[in-house]
Amino acid sequence: MTATATRPAGSSAPTPEPAPPAKRPRRNLTGYWLLLPGALWLAVFFVVPFYSLLATSLYDPGGSVLEGYDMSWAFGNYVTAIQEYWRPLVRSLWYGAVATAICLVLGYVLAYAIAFKAGRWKNLMLILVIAPFFTSFLVRTLSWKLLLRDDGFVVDTLQFLHVLGADGRLLATPVAVIAGLVYNFLPFMVLPLYASIDKIDPRLVEAAGDLYARPFVGFFKVTWPLSLPGVVSGTLLTFIPAVGDYINAQLLGSPGQRMIGNVIQNLFTDAGDYPVAGALSVMLMLLILVLVLVYVRRAGTEELL
């Protein structure tokens, strides 16, 4: 005997329910009304700006911010952008990829430890993963500048161990910039990985052990494939912001480590060269889109194999 049965049979039909069960949501206009304000905001301030950006990238390069630009379908802006700035563009993709790979290794160890080894400390460890990131991104990056400075502890130790030469340094090198990127985007890797690994039934891994798979084999045949959704979303959430970042390159690097974000920001706010900056922005977006699509495709097929 269910509670529903006590209700008069006809009464539920005419009175609309405010919160119908997720299994059979209502089909009427209320959904649209609830969605409308937020959707409008996103349309006007997220979608429309892409058209403005696209238009900006095709403005006549002869104009300036003060005098205004003419629309002249100047596809030459893209040629200029590639000729002048292909190095920072390639460098950004490269730094982003390396940082993502390191994040994957570190993040996997941490996520695995939280999901399978932390026991009752699981929630505490998850809080600890997020906690450092409530402190300002820039203040934390400045701390790395202090830690990695030329006569600092880290550099002295590495020099003592002969990892670095006597006048070797970390600041103003790709190592510092990539280390900064790894540090700043690690939680974006850990959280999706954790969500995926935590869902894995530990009995599956045990079963592999019972069937005489060594732990190593068991990991690559069972745990890794099952955690792939987390790996894919974690790597994307790390790679995309890392490629576009320029704070680490600016604070920890030198002009030799300039990333595409530095260039775009510079062209917009200091040089005032909107068309080329726009062209670079559009290219960055398209490059990332293509890479992501190819990657998701490949990861998807791997999962099926």
């Binding site: 609309p16 009427n28 937020g38 409530f134 203040v139 960055l284």
Partner: protein, 274 residues
């Protein structure tokens, strides 16, 4: 196959993973230790960033740093306003997506996902292009920053509240309705309290995203300075140690909030478990 050697290997293996995980966690905290330490630093020179001596004066006069407190209060204002608007609009959207079926739902889901998957530099420059094209190029400042912040916080709110709503047991709402609660009563007394932790989490996330944003803000700020922009500026000319005081306070406040939420959740779980 299950000899003592293998067992020993597995024991070491399992603890190696835990030890590795703790090391990674420690690595994530290293800069925090530096921030806390440097908040007590008495620097010899503004240009050399290192620990020279202990002092409490940074904590006693946090506003002694030129222009920092102005930037800080502006960041807090923008953060609060952006949080209120984004949380409101985002929560409505989450309800629409979970509780209502309509045409274009998957398109809406995609539209909400995209801002989280776009590089900030691209979103920031697009918005700037829009503002300039619309003739607001000379009036960049507080309001353009606020518009941008609401935009990028929205998706995170939707995702957070949606997750909470989707995991909700609708039998409780059914029960309220069966006990002759009206639509409004059910929403206020049952649905809202159950979803509230999700909304609160979304609001906290919004505030910290807004408060900490630099890349999008910097492109759309004109001459207005927020706290991250202030830090960016002083990073080139010499960092006042009060910046680390703010960093430490931010860390402490957020840890207290997160721990309080967790303690409350545990207590509730214990009550529910009897």
């Amino acid at each position: 196959m299950n000899g003592p050697l293998q067992r020993l290997g597995r024991w070491v293996g399992s603890h190696l993973v835990l030890a590795g995980g703790l090391l990674v966690l420690l690595y994530m905290f290293v800069p925090i230790f530096v921030v806390v330490l440097m908040s007590f630093n008495d620097p010899d020179s503004r240009l050399i960033y290192r620990f020279d001596g202990f002092t409490l004066k940074n904590w006693a006069n946090p506003c002694a740093a030129d222009g920092m407190c102005g930037a800080l209060s502006r960041s807090i204002q923008i953060g609060l306003l952006a949080t209120v608007v984004a949380t409101l609009l985002g929560t409505l959207m989450a309800f629409a997506l979970v509780r209502h079926r309509f045409h274009g739902r998957s398109a809406a889901n995609l539209g909400i996902f995209l801002p989280m998957a776009s590089p900030e530099i691209v979103m920031g420059s697009s918005l700037l292009a829009l503002f300039v094209a619309a003739g607001f190029g000379g009036r960049l400042g507080f309001w353009t920053i606020l518009i941008a912040h609401i935009m990028f916080c929205l998706s995170f709110v939707v995702v957070t509240v949606r997750a909470r709503l989707a995991g909700l047991d609708d039998n409780l709402e059914q029960a309220a309705m069966d006990l002759y609660a009206t639509e409004v009563q059910t929403f206020r007394r049952v649905t809202l309290p159950l979803v509230f932790p999700g909304i609160l989490g979304a609001a906290l996330l919004s505030f910290s995203l807004s408060f900490d944003d630099f890349i999008i803000t910097n492109l759309n700020a004109g001459n207005t300075t927020t706290f991250p922009m202030y830090v960016w500026g002083v990073a080139q000319r010499g960092v006042p140690m009060q910046v680390n005081v703010v960093g430490t306070v931010m860390f402490l406040v957020s840890v207290v909030i997160v721990v309080a939420v967790e303690v409350r959740r545990r207590r509730q779980e214990r009550v529910l478990a009897g």
